[in-house]
Symmetry: D3
Subunit: 275 residues, 6 copies
């Protein structure tokens, strides 16, 4: 996979590292970056060489500062040329759905995604992090659900996902309505991230290590676990139990169970076929 603004590397067996790679622009999003992000995760989703993914931002200063202002200006110009409000709204709706689709590719990726945040992590940074399965950050991370400050309600997923991911609704509403910054300590206290590391390098190392651990497990078990947790989050319990039974009726019929049991007894490293 070769991209211009997304860098995909393979730091260890079955682990992919995806970086937002426009560091001199603080990884601000332009149209090409949106497209590449969606493509990368769509491909990784069924890439049998990958079993766990780390997502981070290149450079020292920012995970991402959100939408590039140049990019926003372009859309405005298109809008200005449309004949009426109904057609401008249709254009804008399609455009928002496209951007959401890029982020959904992260959430729907069949392989677990660990997001490592650092530095400026504003607006779209939170939208994107909400699509990952695990969130880690460095202690210098500066978070904000920033959109209210530019006259908008966030529309790329933070408001849809935060009330489900995080403990404390009073806090979720507070940071979303005031657009105030919050730091790593606060992010961990409310359960938005599960670990804070001293700096970006440490956070990335921690994330890559967790990815390597996950990648060493049965991919049938790991990918099923992600799918079923996603289902559990969005469905009543009775629904999820039924779906789980149908899912595992086939998934338990793998060679991995035997491999895992034997290697557990023999203290060897199990081998699992591709998925």
């Amino acid at each position: 996979m070769e991209f211009k603004y997304i860098l995909v590397t393979k730091p260890s067996d079955y682990v992919a590292h995806v970086e937002l790679n426009r560091p001199n622009k603080l990884n601000a999003f332009i149209p090409q970056l949106w497209i590449e992000l969606g493509q990368a995760f769509t491909q990784l989703s069924t890439d049998a060489e990958v079993r766990a993914i780390v997502l981070s931002g290149a450079g020292e200063r920012a995970f991402t500062t959100g939408l590039d202002v140049v990019s926003a200006a372009e859309y405005s110009e298109v809008m200005a040329n449309l004949p009426d409000t109904a057609r401008r709204a249709a254009y804008m709706r399609r455009h928002i759905l496209e951007m959401q689709a890029s982020l959904n590719a992260v959430e729907r990726c069949e392989k677990p995604v660990i997001c490592v945040l650092h530095g400026l992590s504003l607006g779209l940074a939170v939208d994107l992090a909400c699509c990952a399965d695990v969130r880690l950050c460095s202690s210098d991370t500066r978070f904000a659900v920033k959109e209210v400050d530019i006259g908008l309600a966030a529309d790329l997923g933070s408001l849809a996902r935060l009330p489900k991911l995080v403990a404390n609704h009073s806090w979720v509403y507070e940071v979303s309505l005031t657009a105030r910054e919050f730091n790593a300590t606060e992010a961990q206290a409310v359960g938005f991230v599960s670990h804070v590391l001293p700096n970006k390098a440490a956070a990335l190392a921690y994330g890559l290590d967790m990815a390597a651990q996950i990648a060493s497990k049965s991919p049938v078990a790991v990918q099923g676990t992600k799918e079923l947790l996603h289902h559990g989050r969005d469905h009543p319990i009775a629904e999820s139990l039924k779906y789980t039974a149908v899912w595992n009726a086939a998934a338990v019929q793998s060679d991995d169970v035997q491999s895992a049991l034997m290697s557990g007894l023999n203290k060897t490293k199990p081998h699992f076929a591709k998925l």
Copy 2:
């Protein structure tokens, strides 16, 4: 707006302060208070002069101690005169739905509501606080989901809302099943409130300041954020993303975006048209 048991003031630009105002009765609810509470929030919902609301209880001793016993006695008398169980149940169902509707007016109010609790905050106090967007309290607050102690399951919203608002289901079930009191520290630890202040005055000041901050932002952005967070809480993610795209297709076409951007560059205070 003139009410008898509800006091509405305007402490700063675009901020309304709503007080339960029966302090000599510890703000216990009687039918007239129910009616006025619903009316006040229904009116504030579309009052273009208001962009954020603080809700608190008058007096030093209590936010509210719940339903006034006198009031409960009146309902019993009506019930006693009905001919059979089916008709008493129909009467009671309509009556519960009416009280719920008053509280729903707080939740559905298009403007954000910050609830500031203090002192005795029992039973109905929790039902009411669950309808606000942000919850703050003073350190002396004494909370309880008290209904089990009077032979009832809480029916005004605590049991419907707490499992969604708060982190820790084990704790939610525990306090709801035992009716035991919990204090401000515990309320913050489990995420029921997002800040604890030393006393009522400090809590109210903090709440009014937060309201002022919110009121200084674009009302299009703020009201959209509340609506979309509410939607996110009650729908699967895919549903909310779609709704968000349709909502923002029109909402992003405001003058507020330009005002917000320009005042950000010029370090001036933006002006936003009414909503």
Copy 3:
């Protein structure tokens, strides 16, 4: 109720204590234990002599270590004799649904269930604990969502219930995807348990005391509270409010309200009729 692997005792008025009782096998589950667990909770659900239940594991070393390997081997043999994948999947689906049904009996039990965990609490231990209303543990408890390590996605409810019960989705995904152990402190920090006690005896005493408190309340109020919290967890708020009004339209017409009020005034212990 007489069972072989489940021990049911009555430690105090209206309190039942249910123990997984295969301590020499670390309470690992075999088919007979599954069956008895479901039967016990189905009977307790409508046993008018019981108003609160404590669930724990016999012996010092484990709440439970999960599925007995002998048991798993038996299923494999049945599977091997089936003619094709479709039929093996149908067999396995029915089998998973049966095991889920046993655990659902705990969740659906009309009486509150307090789960007290200690020692090894692996795999199925988490599935089972998720079905209780309140979770307590001793400080030596060693938890793990262990299934990924044996090549499986957990299919007995942890993945369906954890995203709803616990604050911190990043943590939920992390422990489910890595299968790593977590201890009592971590379990409390994320809100999986609401109290940690120094050892099994203390945890059990705490649980039995909480059960006794709940059992001293109106059973109409307590059982209604459990039902409505369950409904709140799995439905949109508007749905639950409506259901609540219909439920309480009959439930408030009990003698318990009067008994509770009078005993509150007279400082006496109220008496409540059976339910």
Copy 4:
């Protein structure tokens, strides 16, 4: 109840007849008519003297031809004075929700509503008829989901309700997308109305007779039946069964069961207490 554009009469015991009463304007809707329609059905919902309702349009020519054009022009003027698209959209959204709320009052009315259509029954006529429980018409009725012809998608409920009420989705989409008229025969063939009568007088007589029959039954049974059918339409079966059990747990404890049984045996007319 005294209204200007709504006429409410009591043609027989416990039966109310509600007429859209602007016949010289073909019962076209103006703001005052909207308001009165909502008020009338809200009051009838809990009026113990009413057990069944017939809804029809005054005059020979039309049930209703929809929104009065004068009325539409007024809204346009308000819109023109608003500063930006976001605020115009907010105004319009609130306005649509208000009109929907008037129609919802028909659907939510606790008493059954039989809608009798005749003559011109265009646009809003279909929206309104969809809110009734039973639909009858005269053979001269001219129906159309007319909105597409004036550049709009219907927004007062036809598109939300028709796919649920009517058999034939291919037909629903066809008439909604083409805005073509359909007649009484076609309306009956697809199941939109259950009976066609030769003319308005006959249709009204049929409807009033059906209302009288319903009004002679137990109001507990009738109002419960409407509530549970509404629930069944909008929920999965398992949900509705559970709700039904809770509903009837109180409703079956009426004197009506005894009265109905006795009068059945004695061939007398039962008497039922008010509801």
Copy 5:
């Protein structure tokens, strides 16, 4: 399977015939019949010798006339001895849920159920028929949703299921609110039954023949089809498509596909392994 009031026979290969067998009492339901009905269908659900089921009523006069009045009297007596409304409601709720559970066993039976109605088919007859997959009747069948006439809303499933099964909501509300009888022709016109035969014998023969046809097909295909149609009825399309893909991922891996294809080419009768 030996029952007292339910007769189960095997008229042809892989076909079971279940009869309500209290013909001298017009197959009215007493507690033992409820219990046996649930047991019969629960056992047939996983009986590998059965692939399709016909359900009918013994005797010439009735499919069933509903709840036996003797039975209803017994419940009343229990109710009268309970101390308050809340406890009577709890008793009644549990009782309704038990009766619903017996009928649900028909709906949840993994094998298709063809219901053949004839003669008196009142009240419970409609509830029960709604749980079958296919409905046939003889031309003399007299149907009614009869409950309103005895002062009750139907609570055993008709009101939950009819709005989903039948085309014409206006008709569904009409017959449910008036309790009037409808005949076979009307039942077919609105889509409640799919075929009307001249008499009971012909209807039964038609049903048994259809069952034999279904029983000659792949049981993997047939049972999957029933499961997926049930899912489609109760879920949004996107949900059902996803569930379908997971279900068939295992189910298509059967020997039946090859058997079916080969026997299609060779014009022979395929053999399918048990399920």
Copy 6:
């Protein structure tokens, strides 16, 4: 748009005609046809030159006979090389989801789709027709939900969509469980198609004429109508009303309303801007 097995033409203003174009193979589906079908409808969805679409099958003998057997054989070969059941199931699940995605492109196409069926219309033909908005057919059409006959439950949408689209569930289950053929008359009687024409040419002419009518209307109104009917089909009424209000808040602000009104008054043909 140039495709190999899909032919797209523009028979009149703003109307596209999409043909399955493998007539010598009875339009049986091979992988390339799947891909092209999805691409064609995805492109047409936002093609401003298209406002209504007719979908039919080339040749005289068949709309389509379903999956090409050659194609099925290829998948079998891939399956055979996978190491275990879990991995074969994962492969198959992804494959089914891909095929469903092609059909979903028809359903999600923003422009209305009129499906014209003729001749052999088996299996996949029904799945595909269910994705269209309107269904027409010639009198010689031979329909079947054929999958059970080849040992499969239909997995491309018929079982998810038929219970929603068609009146008569008894019939839906019957034809799905028996795989028997049904003809045009029966298809119209149960509401699967809304019109039957004497032959393919007449059916196509009728469909193209209906498309032309739709294409002459406001595209804002038409596309909104399709979107809102789809929403109504899959959501509770209250949900759809809210969504409708948000949707139309922008959509009513079009120039089309004025154009439609003026051309109505002036009896001229309105002009609508592209969408």
